[in-house]
Every structure is written in C-alpha cells, then in structure tokens.
C-alpha cells in the first residue's frame, strides 16, 4: 500500500491557484511595475505545485492499480465483470448543519425508503482514477499554457490581471474535477463559466470580444438551468448532494429509473451548453475572440471537456434507465440522446470546419467536432466509456498544442488569422511547424504513432459494435477532420512565402516554443498507453471509475455485450478509420496542396458544391436561425414590454421617436443586447422606479414620519377592531 502522501495534499491542488489569483488581484499591478513580466511566475508556481501533487497522485494510483494483487477481471466469459481499482480517496468536511428535509418536501416514496438525509451539508474532494488522470492532464496543460502566456501576453496592459483570471480558472476547473458532491461540482461549473466569460471578454475594448463573451455566458446559462434542475431532482430523491450516494441510489425504489432518466437528461443539458454540443454549440467558435492561451486552455483542453467529464462521472445515471429501456424524449433513451447529440455535433462541426478561413475558427469547429466524438462515445454506455475519456485526455494535449501553435502562428504573422493570407510558414517557423504537424497528425488519426489514432479508433471500434449507422457517420466526421486539418496545414505552412506580402513571419520566443514541444511529446506518446488488447493500460486504469451497475447484472449491459475492459480488436473499423483519414488527407492535398483542383471554378461548374460551400461557410445558418427565432421572438416580446413601459411612463410623444430609432433602425444591431437586456432591464427599471418612490417617501420632515407611522398603526389597530382580529 502506497502511503497516500500526495492524496492528503489534494486540497492544495485547487487552493494554490486560488491563492495565486488572490495575490495577483491584490498586488499584481504593483508587482508588475516592480518586477515586470516575472509577476507571471506567481501564476506558474500556483499551478506547478499542484501539477507535482497531481502527478504524484497519479503515480500513486497507477502503482496501486497495477501493483495490486488482484488480476483485473478481463478474461473469461464474465463479460460484465467490472474492473477493480484502488478505493476512491475521499476528503470531506462538514460545512454546515442544515437540518433534515421537511417530510412534506420529499416525495412520498423517498420518505419511506431512502436513508434520511442526515441534515449536514458536506463538501469534499473525491479522487478516483478518472479524477487522477484528469488532474494530471489539467495541471500539466495549464502549467504549460501559463508558461506560454508569459511570452504571448507580453506587453498587454492588463498583464497581471490575465494571469489572475487564468489562475482563478485553474482553481475553478480543479474544483470541478475534484468535486465529491454536486454542490461543489456546481460551484466549479459556474465558476469556470464566469472565468470563461471574463477571459473571452478580456479584450473588452473589442466589441466582438465583448459580445462573444456575452453570448458564451448566455448560451451556457441555458444549459446550466437544466443542470440545476437535474441536481434538484437528484437531491429531492436521494436526498443527498453526494455524487456517489446519488449514483448508488440510482435505480433503487427511492430514485426510480424514470426519474433517473429525467435527471440524467437535465444534467446533460448542462453538458450540452458547457461542451458546446448541438444545438448550443454556437458560442464556442465566437469564444475564439479571447486571447489564444485562453482558447487553448479553456476552450479546447479543459472547460469544454467539463461537460464530457461530468457525463462520464455520472454515466451510471444514463446506463440505469437504458437497462430499463425507459424513453425520455421522442422514443429515445437518455443514453441514446447523448449518443445522437454527440454524433450530430461531430458531423456538423466537422463539415463546417472545411469552409472556414480563420485558423482559430477551424480549430474551434474541430474542437466541437471532437467533443461530439467523446460525447457519442459516452453515449454508447459501458462500451464507449473508456474510449470517450481516453479521447478526452489525448485531445486535451493535441488540441492545446494546436491552439498554442496557431497562437504562435498568429503571433508570428503579426496578428493575422486568415489562413488564405498565410503560406510558407514552414521555413519561417520550423519549431511551430513541426509541433503543429504532430498535433495535426494526432488529431486526424494517422495511424500507429499518434495519440488521436488510438483513442479515436477505440471510439470507432465501440460504435462498430454498438451502433453501425453512428459508426459510419463518425467515420465521415473523421474524414472531414482530416480534410480540414489537411487544408489548414497546406494553406498555412506549404509554399515558399505568405500569400499576403505584408506578413513577415518569424519564429516565436523560446518561452512559447518549449511548451509546444512538450505538448507535442504527449500528443504522440499518450496514445500508446491505450493500445488495444489485453494490456490496454488505459482500460485497466480508468476502468475502475466506469459505471458500476453490478446490481443490474441480470440485464444485458447497455449498448451491447462488450466488456469495457478490453474491446475486441476488429479489423473492419480499423481499416475504415485509416481509410477515412487517408482519404481526407489525400483530398486536402489534391485541392490545397498540389492545387490540382481550382476551387472557384469547381464551384462555378457544379452549383451544388457552391451551395454546400455557402451553407458550410455560414455554419448551417445556425446563428441566423437563432436570430430569427429566439432573438426576434424575445425581441418582439421585449419590444412589446418596452412599448408598454414607455407608453405609460413617457407618453405617446416619446413613443414615436423611440419606435423609429429603436424598432426600425436599431433592430438588427441591438438584437443581442435586447434579447438579454430587454426583460431584465424592464424589471430593473421597475425596481428603480419603486426605489425612487420609496426614497421619496422619506421627506425629511419628522412630523411626516410620525404621521405616516401613526396612521398605519392606527389603521392596523382599527382594522383589528373592525375585523375582530380575524385576519391580522
């Protein structure tokens, strides 16, 4: 037994970034003036120490997992046998006594059956193998990105503030990952949203950044609302906020499967928002307005994966109703909803990525697409669970690498983001090019060496076994991935010199390229841990965190009879995967590399291609559709309310001017602010009006006061006398 030295330090992991954040907020500006860019080292230190602890925890858990005497149950016909790993490490403090729930609040079943909520609010950390892996990944990536940012953010006037926000984000994200209860999970969940908002809008002087931040915030609110409802449903049934208790209770009489399914679906809404799944994916590409390290850390590696992580964490809640085959919506079980949302997202985003010209947007859509992959992997139940998490881990590294690489490219090109103006950067920026190439190969799933291949192939293998249509769609998405990433590579790096001659590219400083190199190493090496077969280390390690539903073992395991511990090596999906990637690269090379096809002429010749390109370029008109429905709808509502407001308050004279300026002229432009602010403002204004009235009562004359008070007191006394003390 390894002593849980590092585990005992787990509470430091989120705390140190918070401390760094506090120091930077409080004294950052002063320090920056004094010691210059070295102020960022506070933030780096604030994540480096947790990184050491996290890797220590990982090492300890790895040694416990593989050094344990028991042979993991991977052999034999016991296909449903679960893998055993070391016990989760838990650390909880009682925060506050709340008292038990009032019986009338509880559902009738719960009152009788569930172990009563003990009336104490506990908050704590819980570390199992999944958490340990996530921690190691997040701290490492975050540390590298913080180091990278030292160079990238150089010269920014709010330099210390950036690192403060990044540290705050690290705190929130680590809190989210370590959460042992839904309460902490939700706190982290909201905090990462807040940090995302702050960081997307970091350059708030840019109107596009400000509106992107707002968009991200609002779209996430939609999801979070469902998330909160899901938590409440669980709390009312279990009744506890402890995640493990909730999972244990799932499917029991206290928490019957149909409620489990509904709770799962509600929680999944949160994941849709946070992980940018269809139909709430629209915020993520816009979020690229933030600084590139932010895109790399938050919108590629960690925060957007939080939804996936959460679904993985609670996937028992999806598996249990799947076993009972309970439909939630439109004949689909909650697990199928996860699966189909995931695959739709993957295909949709993959195709959109082909037609984008902004280098960061391509990567953003690629992120959305990959998140879709993870989600549909989880949506296959036990079969795809490990594959999904595995892909999450590998993706974090190579996507962070790609974003940082693109940041390096943008940095080198003096802020230019349009790929069509670049070209020939291979010579100017060799390190960036080579590391970027590693990341691209990993992402596109080029076989054998690169991490993405192994993780994606596992997802494909699982879907081949579970749901063949999804498999083929997934392969199509993989093909798209190769196509747009090939396009990106050729447009950016191929050739002799940039197409736009104003660009004079140069290599980025060491502080930026070294993290790239380290990430590149991981992008390549990490995949080997998940090679299929009996010695699939990833499966052994992560398997113990997979949904445990031993008590339902009589039923067929959801989503097919595949043991999570070792996916049968299938030649067909492997071949198809390789072919899809190869075809994508080939097509990209044909069109953008060797320029054998002239795209504009092709579009002229074959109108459907032009149409398709148009549709893809406009992202399937999602923004427009949302604008036309939700925005306009709310706008009309808000306009109606505002009309009423103004009519009452200012009279009809102002109405005319208001109508011309607001309704007709500014309609489209103000749409964004109106949808958000319209109703809110109306309420706020009403409050202010009431406040003014309340304050005006305070006339300053003491006899008014006495008269008011005496009048009311006398009225009360008279009312009591008249009404015989009946009502008041």
């Amino acid at each position: 037994m390894v002593s849980p030295f590092f585990e005992n330090l787990a509470w430091l992991i989120p705390l140190l970034p918070l401390l760094a954040c506090g120091v930077l907020i409080g004294w950052g500006v002063k320090l920056h003036r004094k010691i210059g860019d070295r102020v960022a080292l506070i933030a780096v230190a604030g994540i480096a120490i947790p990184c050491v602890i996290a890797w220590g925890i990982l090492a300890s858990r790895v040694s416990q997992t593989f050094g344990a005497p028991h042979e993991a149950g991977t052999h034999g016909e016991s296909a449903r046998e679960t893998i055993e790993g070391p016990e989760p490490f838990e650390m909880a403090v009682e925060w506050a006594p709340l008292g038990p729930l009032s019986p009338a609040v509880l559902s009738p079943v719960t009152r009788d059956l569930s172990p009563a909520f003990d009336g104490r609010l506990k908050v704590g950390l819980r570390i199992d193998n999944l958490t340990a892996a996530m921690l190691a990944m997040i701290t490492l990536v975050a540390m590298l990105i913080q180091i990278y940012s030292i160079g990238y953010m150089h010269g920014d006037e709010r330099y210390p503030r950036f690192f403060a926000y990044m540290s705050l984000f690290c705190f929130s994200m680590l809190l989210l990952v370590l959460a042992g209860s839904f309460l902490v999970l939700f706190a982290g969940w909201e905090l990462v949203g807040l940090c995302s908002y702050l960081l997307i809008g970091f350059w708030f002087q840019k109107p596009s950044a400000a509106s992107a931040a707002k968009k991200a915030f609002i779209v996430n609110r939609v999801g979070d609302f469902g998330f909160l409802i899901g938590i409440m449903i669980i709390f009312f049934h279990v009744p506890s906020l402890d995640i493990r208790a909730a999972l244990a209770a799932a499917g029991t009489a206290a928490f019957p499967p149909h409620w489990v399914a509904i709770a799962g679906a509600c929680l999944f809404t949160g994941a849709i928002g946070k992980s940018a799944q269809f139909p709430l994916h629209v915020w993520l590409p816009d979020a690229m307005e933030g600084p590139t390290p932010v895109s790399a850390l938050i919108h590629a590696a960690t925060m957007v994966a939080a939804g996936v992580y959460m679904v993985a964490r609670i996937s028992t809640l999806y598996v249990v109703p799947q076993v009972a085959e309970l439909e939630v919506f439109a004949g689909l079980t909650s697990l199928e909803i996860v699966r189909y949302i995931g695959i739709i997202t993957a295909v949709l985003a993959g195709t959109i990525g082909i037609a984008q010209n902004d280098i960061k947007r391509v990567l953003a859509y690629s992120t959305v697409s990959q998140l879709g992959f993870m989600m549909f992997a989880l949506g296959m139940g036990m079969a795809g669970w490990v594959a999904g998490v595995f892909h999450l881990l590998t993706h974090a590294f190579f996507k962070a690498l790609l974003f940082l690489g693109s940041g390096s490219v943008i940095h080198g090109c003096g802020g230019e983001q349009d790929m069509t103006k670049m070209g020939g950067l291979r010579k100017a920026m060799p390190t960036t090019f080579w590391t970027f190439l590693m990341g691209t190969l990993a992402l596109t799933g080029v076989p054998l060496f690169w991490a993405g291949f192994w993780s994606k192939d596992e997802i494909m293998a699982a879907s081949w076994a579970v749901d063949q249509p999804v498999f083929w769609l997934g392969e199509f998405a993989a093909f798209c991935t190769a196509l747009y990433m090939g396009r990106l590579m050729f447009l950016t790096f191929a050739g002799d010199h940039p197409r736009d001659h104003s660009i004079h590219a140069h290599e980025s400083p060491k502080v930026m390229t070294v993290p790239l190199t380290i990430l590149a190493v991981f992008s390549v090496g990490l995949g080997w841990l998940g090679m299929p077969g009996d010695h699939n280390l990833m499966h052994h390690f992560l398997g113990s965190s997979a949904p445990q539903i031993a008590e339902h073992a009589e039923h067929a395991v959801a989503g097919g009879a595949i043991n999570i511990a070792g996916i049968e090596f299938e030649i067909v999906p492997l071949c198809v995967s390789v072919m899809a990637a190869g075809l994508g690269w080939l097509l990209a090379a044909v069109i953008w590399g060797w320029k054998l096809v002239d795209v504009p002429r092709l579009k002229q010749a074959v109108p459907p291609i032009a149409w398709a390109h148009n549709v893809l370029k406009n992202k399937y008109f999602f923004d427009e559709i949302y604008h036309a429905t939700f925005v306009r709808g709310t706008l009309a509502l808000a306009a109606g309310c505002g009309l009423f407001d103004k009519y009452v308050v200012d009279g009809i004279v102002n109405l005319v001017g208001w109508a011309t300026t607001r309704v007709f002229a500014g309609l489209a432009r103000l749409a964004d602010t109106w949808i958000v602010d319209g109703l809110v403002n109306l309420i706020a204004e009403a409050q202010k009006l009431a406040g003014r009235f309340a304050a005006m009562l305070q006339t300053g004359r003491v006899q008014h006061y006495i008269a008011f008070s005496a009048l009311i007191a006398a009225l009360i006394a008279a009312a009591i006398y008249v009404l015989g003390g009946h009502w008041i």
């Binding site: 709340l98 305070q698 008070s709």
Partner: protein, 526 residues
C-alpha cells in the same frame, strides 16, 4: 426556574451589568481628568472593561434560566447571546471610534462613557423580564442614542439627526408605554414570566380575553419596531444614520436592533401566546414591507451611510422572517451529539450574529474611506481597488456577505431564515383566509419575498464593488488618486476581526448553530 424572595438574591448574576455601570462612571472620570494629556486613556479603559465583561457574560451560559430581582430580570442563554452581541458591538465600535471621535472632538472621553452605558442598556434589554425594566432599558438606550447621534454638536446634520431621532423616538416610546399600560391591565402584572405564559406563576390574565390585547400588541410593536427599524416605524433610521457620527451609526445599526429582537423574542415568541395570537401574520406583512422598502430605497442612495441605513432596514426585514417563522422550522440532526435547532428563532439569532460582524466591517471600511476622502459619497469609492486594495477587497467581502453569497456569514443567516420559513410553509403553519376563498400560505410568500429581495439587494451592493474595481477615481487629481489610504490601527483591527468572523461564520456555522441549539429556547421555559 427559581424565584427567590430575597430581593438581592442572585446579585452575583448581575455582575456584568454592574461592571458596565461602574465602567461608565470610571470612563467618564478618566475622560474628564486626563483630557488631552492622555487621549487614549478613555478608550483603552473602555476596551479593557468591555473585554473583562466578556468572560463575566460568557460564564452565565449554562443552559438554565434563573430569574433574579424577584422576577424583574432573567439570566438565561437567550440573554447571554444578546449580551455577548452587545458587548462585542460596543468593543468593536470603541475601536472604530478611537481615532474618528478624536478628530472631531478633542475632549472625547465622555463619548465612551455614553457608549458603555448604551451597552449596559442593551444588556438590560437582553435580560429584562419585567415591562418596567424593559421600558427602562429601552429608554436608556434611546436617550443615549439621541445624545450620541447629536454628538457632533456643531454639525448641522448631526444636530438635525438627533432632533428627528429624538422627536420620533419620544413619540414611539410614548405609544409603546401606552401599549404597555394596556398590557399591564390585561395581564395584571408587569412580570413577563407569568405575564404571557400563565403556568410559571399562579396567575391568570385578568382581562383575558380582551379586545385590548391586540391593541396593546400593536402599540408595543410600534416601540419595538422603532428600535429595530421596521417599516413603517423606520423613518428615523436613514436620517439619523446619515447625520450621526459614523461610529455611532455603526453602533445604532447593530446594537439597538439586536436588543430589540431580544425583547421581541421575550414578548412574542411564547408557546400559545395569549397576548395576540395573530401577531405573526401582522409581522409578516410588515416584514415584507420592510424588506421591499429598505432595498428599493437603497438603490437610489448616493451616500454610503444612507445606503447602509436602508440596507439595515432591509436586513431587519429578513430577520423578521425568522421571527414570524420562529415556531415553524424546528429540526434536529441526530448524529454526533445531535443538534436540535429551534428553526426560526435560532435563524434570527444566527442572522444577528452574522449581521453584527459583516455590517460593522462594512462600516469600518466606510469610516476608513470617509476619513481619507472626507466625503461619504459612494462615487468616491471609484478606483478604491487601486488606492487601497485591502480596503476594497474587505468591503467587497462584507458586501458579498450582506447580499448573502456563500460561503460567507450572511449566506447562512439568510439560508437559515428562509429555511425556517419554508419548513413552516410546508406545514402551512401560518395561513390566512381571505374573502373569496383565497388562502394564503403566509410563510411561503414571506420566503419568496425574502428571495426576491435578496436579488434586488445584490444590485446596490455590487454597484459599490463595481465602482471600486471598474471605475476610475472621480473628483481627485492624479496625485491624490494614487495616494494610498491608511486606516487607523483601530479601524484596521476591526476590519480584520470582522473579516475573520464573517468567514468563520460562513465556513463553520456549526459552532454557532450548536451553541444556539443547545441553549436558547424560546421563552426560556421548558
């Protein structure tokens, strides 16, 4: 409960009050003797005396009730709690006032004598078990409040504030005395234990049931409402708070308010209150009005003291929720020794404790900033994050706590209060049947109003935070804007103490909950 027929029996339990009375005289004498030679003598002696008073009070905490002075005065855990709050408030305000009062008045020794006596009055309010003693205690506090409000004799605003406060207070206490006279007639005695619950003494209500009872209750509520700044008896508060010297404002917003709740608890929170059974409904209506008026009016304030005054009115409203739900929210936790909380009452007490610290903290910061800028305007908070990050962060935390954000003290105060109301609402503990078959679950709507108000309140609290962090300093030249603010040692220590307490109550609320649950029972008789 013991009733000793020896008039001076149990005098030892009166030690804290005696100490405070004597301390006031000593401080007065020292203030007069030392004058400007040792300006710190009076406050230091005050602090030492109040500090010595703490253990004396704390020793009385022992889960039993003893009635001394032949039924005039009661020493129980409810009283101990409020005495601790009073002494703590007095000590913290002394620290705040040390440098502030010295600046405005060179011979400021007697201010601390007044403060000590005010603390004495608060302690008496906490323990009074006789209408006569209640009246005397309230009047002691009131008179001292008027005087302290007008302490800046030459400042028009201070003088005006004291005049308004005095006139309003005199009328309110006259009304309350009239109500008490009716109550005496109804009950036949002025002794509380035996006045309302008839079991303790072989005594019945002489006129019970009488139509005078609700009128007496309403008239007494006027006086108590005046003390706790409950709408519609709050009018004095904004003006008095704004005009008074800021340390006095800090004291007024915490001390008399808390003590008012002590008397409210003693008079009204009785099992089977015979005085006026419908009082919770009435107070519920007033509580809703209190919250809304306080929060709404606070939105418009440009003066930090006035804003905090309105906010303190609103907080009285939140506390009143707990008062209304005092019976509805009992709960127990059985493991580890167990906690049996008497929901609503304990929620109020928790709220008062948290409010003590977070509000005094906010006032301490306000005083530091007022002294530096010479101005109470909220606009002057612009750029405070740069001028003194510590003050800015402290103020932010206090305001967050006041708006009820976890994990700070204010959150649990609000949580327990709302929780008590919701628990009571689940049983429909207080229902109101209106004509046309309308049935109102009073506690439920009370909780809803509380939550809505919490959201309104965030607006004006966060406005200050926004100014501090996102606005440049206004009305200052560049050099002045960069000039750091250095609060005095007393103010700094108060900020640190209240910060720690605000966090502690938020992070470890169990200690206080347990303290309350183990000891404080409504009416003191069980």
């Amino acid at each position: 409960m013991t009733l000793n027929l020896q008039p001076t029996a149990g005098l030892d339990q009166f030690a804290p009050e005696i100490l405070l009375g004597v301390l006031g005289l000593i401080v007065l004498g020292i203030g007069a003797l030392t004058k400007r030679r040792w300006p710190l003598a009076a406050p230091v002696v005050t602090l030492a005396g109040l500090f010595a008073c703490l253990p004396l009070v704390a020793m009385q905490w022992r889960h039993e009730q003893s009635v001394i002075f032949l039924g005039s005065y009661v020493v129980d855990d409810l009283a101990v709690f409020f005495k601790l709050v009073a002494v703590a408030a007095g000590g913290l305000v002394t620290l705040i006032a040390m440098s502030y009062m010295r600046r405005v008045d060179r011979d400021y020794g007697e201010f601390f004598a007044l403060l000590v006596w005010a603390v004495l009055g608060l302690c008496l309010m906490a323990g009074a078990a006789d209408l006569i003693v209640i009246l005397l205690a309230i009047e002691t506090v009131s008179l001292l409040s008027y005087v302290m409000t007008g302490y800046l004799r030459n400042e028009p605003r201070s003088a005006e504030a004291s005049l308004k406060y005095f006139l309003y207070g005199a009328v309110a206490s006259a009304v309350m005395i009239y109500g008490m006279s009716l109550l005496y007639g109804v009950a036949g005695t002025t002794k509380l234990y035996g006045l309302l619950g008839s079991e303790a003494l072989p005594m019945q209500l002489r006129l019970h049931p009488s139509p005078l009872q609700p009128i007496a209750a309403v008239l007494i509520l006027v006086g108590l409402g005046f003390k706790i700044a409950m709408v519609p008896f709050h009018w004095w508060a904004p003006d008095a708070y704004e005009g008074a010297p800021t340390p006095v404002t800090a004291f007024l917003s915490v001390g008399p308010k808390a003590a008012g709740f002590a008397i409210l608890a003693r008079l009204f929170m009785q099992e089977g209150n015979a005085l006026y059974p419908q009082w919770p409904t009435l107070v519920a209506v007033l509580a809703i009005a209190t919250m809304f008026l306080g929060n709404w009016a606070a939105i418009w304030q440009g003066n930090i003291k006035r804003m905090l005054a309105y906010s303190s009115i609103a907080h009285a409203g939140y506390m009143l929720i707990g008062v209304v739900a005092w019976q509805g929210g009992a709960w127990t936790v059985s493991d580890r020794g167990g906690i049996a909380s008497h929901g609503g009452l304990h929620a109020v007490l928790f709220y008062i404790a948290s409010y003590l610290f977070m509000n005094l903290g906010a006032f301490a910061v306000a005083i530091a900033i007022e002294r530096a800028t010479g101005c109470e305007s909220i606009e002057r908070y612009g750029g405070m994050a740069k001028r003194n990050p510590f003050l800015a962060i402290a103020m932010t935390i206090f305001l967050l706590s006041l708006s009820g954000i976890p994990p700070l003290a204010g959150f649990f105060g609000k949580f327990y209060v709302f929780n008590a109301a919701i628990r009571g609402a689940a049983d429909d503990a207080i229902s109101l049947s209106l004509p046309f078959g309308i049935h109102v679950n009073v506690l439920f709507w009370l909780a809803v109003a509380g939550v809505v108000n919490s959201m309104i309140a965030v607006y004006y609290y966060m406005n200050v935070v926004r100014l501090m962090y996102f606005q440049p300093a206004t009305g200052l030249d560049a050099e002045e804007a960069e000039h750091a603010i250095v609060p005095s040692v007393g103010v700094q220590s108060v900020i640190i103490i209240t910060l720690v307490a605000t966090f502690l109550l938020g992070l470890l609320p169990e200690a206080l909950v347990r303290f309350l649950a183990e000891s404080v029972f409504p009416g003191g008789l069980s």
